[in-house]
Symmetry: D4
Subunit: 250 residues, 8 copies
């Protein structure tokens, strides 16, 4: 923003722009400028940052078109979430894309190198939570993180979780994903010494109420360092984990 | 019931009672009889079974009066729950009573010997859950059970829970009491090989919603052998635990 | 666990294993060991204990594969819950299996003899609750219990319930299953002198809110000895009932 | 309404009123007329019908003033609900009034004779429901009904309810009042052959959620002939019961 | 019940039955007797009372079978609710049946004559509420009531409601059916001088929350004489209305 | 109403109508008259006011029939909301109609000229909110308003919103449409100096709970001048905005 | 904003300010400028616009201090909402203030003349809604509106509402305030031809759930032109009504 | 853990400990060891880490006692949250303590130097959110962070927020605290390029439902990088922010 306004000011100073025109220029663009400034800054600092397309509610044509434009702007890697197998088949016919069916995620372009502080652990309570977990894990990987997957380590069988105590104790960030009673976040939060991002899932039935039970449970976690994102929001957790895992490189 | 109706039938047979009077006698009392029969049966088998007064909403005078009648009927031990310190002072002036302030429980008469199958473990997530836990523990003790108290062993500090793995693995019944995220029930349910009675408590704030979070969490427990009673219902858990712990002597 | 660690310790003592290798061995497996220890202990005591496969969300191939491995490990009886007719047809082609369509339950291998303390009564409020009830009943039977089925004995027609007063009064454990207003649990809890496991069902419409009404009703039961499991959780109730019905043989 | 408009029309016909004035007269009052018509009709048919003052949120002075006006209009009997002991003392100093403290109800003037079809049974699940029950019972009595009180006949002790089967089977209308699980309405609805008005109460704790549990339970009653009024609305139940109990005399 | 037990008692008196056999006979049947007694009494008083089959969740074969048995027992008129067009086609092939598609109601046998106190008004807020209304209206008609249908008279167009003020003022019972904001019940309750049965419907979207909004609105009605049944429960309302409309003939 | 009753009154005055017939005439129609009066008044003032058909739950035949009648009554423009593509095809075959597929809106007849005070801004948080927005925008246009569409200006990218600050600052009324967290209404309410009508949408997943999150958020808006309509109620917002935007011409 | 930035630009042009200083000046204040610009614009157009202090959670000293500063800035009229009697006494000692106890509203300075398009009607369902209504009415008056109060015209006694049909039909904006079932908004929305702002109140008990019932009811209103503000938000309704009532003078 | 078990193993190897005693030693302590290991690790890395006492529900004596023990163990700085003024007075009499009344926080011992990656911004929507914000800010400061406070920058006055754009754009972590509609988190999340921890507060009334509205709003944030903690949980947010702000020094 500074640069653009400075250009205007200097044009005024040099008599190349009238005061009224300058006023109009400043009045019209400031917020857009701020916005672009932010995006540029963002991209300038960490090259290779992927762009993201939220695939739900978009046609394969729309997704392909957006991806095409991103590539034309020089984007290397594009992450497409909530991409149905049908749409994936169509998008895949037009772009070279890796489709991860379980996560409903498509990735166009190369995976960046992992350059974070440490490893991100993605843990799930059960096998039914894996789709959300893979969305989180792939999101983290595509943003340049090494990911350790610990699936099906729910609290009803603590020995499975404890067999991986080393990974948990040495993680940089942990994403704890669970439906039903959502106790995994508290247990991991009590063991680990790093930020824990809890993702409730809509897995379960009856009093699980579509993820509400796990959500409330996670919000009430008595362990420190735990915060929560929306039900089934694997992308949000993966993105935030990457942000935290790149703190030192800012 | 059988005995009473049999007496009537024999009186009819012997001509000592008219058919109409017999009819009236049978019609009037059957349900009351069934009720008493049940109580008698119950009491006959396990002598020393206490009677219970739910103190909430009763005046000290009412409680004293009920206790007096129970004693006159030959009751040895009387358990009074939800008894405020003020009411306890008044009742205590009229009956020899042990008052357990933290549990708001008063006990008149001697504690019975523990004659259950094994030990009942009463575990809590935090220190704020102790009033509910003590209501449960005292209820179990007054019904003839040995109780092991494991307080403040919540899942955010698993080492405290695991330091008592022996007690948990060898328990006959476990009462798991927790507010907030209520994860304790699932963790214990996953470790133990006995029935676990989960008691959500109203401890917590914000999204704890007065115990709702813990309640839903416990109902969704992925561990087998876990069932749930009402929020803060220490008495109900203690009573049921005693019932289960006396299964073999039935 | 004891045995395995003891073996390691003795190997160290005898110089057959270095301290570092011993450390690694103990560090790697302890929790898994504990887990297996628990399972072994469990299995050691009561031979014939079935393993359980939760069929929901698994393909017929996955279920068949898991069952195959279980059989190879020497498992006699395998219970598969939430098994759709389509999956059942496929699994049934590869394993000798009894499929109970109403309960969506498949059983591979022989039913064990009933060796519990007494009988487990499974009662339902209506005919629509029968699928949940059959899941509970078959789970109990496959774990070695004699089951008495009392279906459609809801409180709007108490005479049907009371016609079976003998079964209720002499039960070892009762599973009370009802949707809509869920009053059955309270009524049975008031009549019976044994643990009552209440299962709310999602039967009903409107203000039944998918089982919420029955769930709250059961949690608030004014009868002692009643506890609650998740909505439609027939398996959980059957498993817990079996646990309680085998208390004396522990 | 008819009479008043007819008067206007005749005045127009006779030239005693201009068309414009008539138009104004008709336009201004019609709804008020309808309202009064209704009240008059109502009162005309069943003499002795009391007026009701909802005491909550009114000062003793306001209540006294309203009562004074009602008496001046010739009202014999006045029912005041939700009247606190403090307000009752003040109102009682100015009017001859029977104050029923448990129900928070004051009655000025004589009780009418009972002239309904039959008896109204007011039943409660527990003793804590009695304040609501007394509001219902007194409301029914003051509207000319004979009331049978069956208190503390909750479903956890069916024998107490069944000891009064005669009253239930012969009632004209039954008001079933219960908190906690609210099962009483369904049980009575299943036994009785008359309209059952269910009143959930806010009695209970935890998952009773201030009467929500009982409310949902009653709405889901599987018994025919049951309808529900608001939580703790004893007056509404008593008024409706009286309406039904006077059906034949309309 | 009386008769049966009296027979037993006389057999005992006459020595035709042993005391033990008598005991067994009394103990086994009493509740069933009570149940049948009730049904008989019920049927004895008002001949022509239909039986009801709740069609939801039953196959066409099951429905046909039940209807067949009812007819063999001498039942003239049978009401089948929640009967899908497909099932209706099959049942209709085996029984002479009038199928009311909008209400999903089938009626086998003749309609009884209307013999109630007065007319039952069935009013709806909108046209989408008509299926519930027709279920209520047909239920009332099949139980011997004259029904006046006032459809689409919701409060957003009061003139349509007020055009039928005569019917409302002269009704014996009114069933007020509405979704969305459910205000119809209060408005009618304020106008009419008879019992009003409110039926919330699941009509609406968004904050209608499947009928919850209308349900709460109706429970909070400030008009006297209003009670509420479950969401979409047209049958319940029709049945209760008939019960009230036959009060004087009891 | 005035006119019709005046006619009656004058007929009475002139002796052309008896008092009784006049009474009947006034009694029978008044409310309908009021209704029509209102509609007429309404239509009289602003010619070209469209009529509206709510298409949901109506068949194409019904819609066509209603439209036909409206046209016969001289209606120029007819707005049909919630019109499915299938129904649109059928209606379109019988009437000349513009079908706006994204909004599920059909418009028969010409668009009126915009004659409001100023412009109505329709803003959405995301692209998924556009169907609701188009229903609002078309409703406003068909009622004679100039509409400015600002789509996808959600608060997570404020620069997009701020690029249109001029439109927002100069709007006459703003409709702010958003799902998920619904923050758009508050942000616009803080910027603008005109009435803001907030429309929560059911866009989102998990804790969006079908629009509940956005609804609560909008109701709690800390900005003045914001009010809320039902979830997804684009029509209601467009209609109210038009009403406000025509305030000065009343 | 324009003026301030123009001054800076001209200073740059004239060489009186360096480009860097200009950049700093523009960068530092823009948003504050925008904010003030908005307020100034606002105030410039309609002199006498009051400022508002939300009294809840502020001490009497804080309120007095804020009011003092406002007066020093030349503010004539200051509206203080949610002002407790205790705080009012203290504030009143330091400022000449009219305190409206029922509304908990204090007004410092003169009431402005009413200069709106028409009259604002404030209607309530009951007398308990009056505090909220007075907050709305006083807010409207202090913003320059003529207010007509129609209190206690709830739908259970429509004749009271209809006695004021003239006021309703001729209103410019109507604020409909009701607790319990909240039907008033729909009824008024159906009668009136102007924007209706619905305010749910927390009046009621039981299933009123603190205003939730009225809130949902109002959101589901089937009448067009109705929008809703937060529970008990009289100020918000009064402010928005004034905004709408001043549309033509903008 | 490694060290301790290694010691045991070496003692076994050296014959200084029997295999059985070693088994007992390993079995008894492992989990406690893990716990202590974790704490030590934690403390070893970042000296000056404070200990925390949750003051709610503890007496002043208990708090003083715990603090005394902590000091004896060599703890420099102790943070006490939820400390009432009364308890603070008593604790302050025994320990040198800074009491921050608005935050209900007491701090014993010196503040550590700020050694985090960057600055933590604590922003609130309104002034009523400040107590929660101060709890967060002091928690962060006491854990070694520089904190920038931006209070009362809610979205209804964006200019106040934007006047601090520099702080927001350059923050390391942002804590966004808001009640009512909770939009602040989304707006900040859209502007900032760092992790945002959202804290809903219980500020507000009516449909704020004790923080539920803000909670849902924040969970649904459409901005990336936002996660949520429990309602009013300032401590949790401050602790997590510190954890993230110390990522690089781990």
């Amino acid at each position: 923003m500074k640069t653009e306004i400075k250009t205007v000011l200097e044009a005024v100073k040099n008599g190349k722009m009238s005061v009224d025109n300058a006023l109009l220029a400043i009045k019209k663009e400031p917020f857009e400028d701020i916005g672009y400034a932010k995006i540029d800054l963002h991209r300038g600092i960490r090259q290779g940052m992927p762009e993201v397309i939220y695939g739900a509610g978009k046609t394969a044509e729309q997704i392909s078109g957006i991806a095409e434009k991103m590539k034309q702007r020089g984007q290397n890697t594009i992450l497409i979430t909530r991409l149905s197998p049908e749409a994936a088949a169509q998008v895949g016919a037009m772009h070279e894309m890796d489709y991860h069916a379980e996560a409903s995620v498509g990735i166009i372009g190369p995976m960046p190198l992992a350059d974070g502080i440490g490893k991100i652990v993605v843990a799930t309570g059960g096998t039914s939570d894996i789709p959300v977990a893979e969305e989180a894990a792939l999101t983290a990987e595509v943003h340049g993180n090494e990911v350790v997957r610990l699936y099906d380590v729910g609290v009803a069988g603590l020995h499975r979780l404890f067999a991986h105590l080393d990974e948990i104790m040495s993680a940089s960030v942990i994403i704890a994903i669970a439906g039903m009673e959502g106790a995994l976040a508290s247990v991991i939060g009590g063991l680990a010494d790093c930020p824990v991002i809890a993702v409730p899932t809509s897995v379960g039935y009856g009093a699980a109420f579509g993820g509400l039970s796990a959500l409330l449970s996670m919000l009430n976690s008595c362990a420190s360092g735990v915060s929560v994102v929306n039900i089934d929001n694997g992308f949000g957790a993966g993105y935030l984990a990457s942000m935290i895992n790149h703190m030192e490189t800012k």
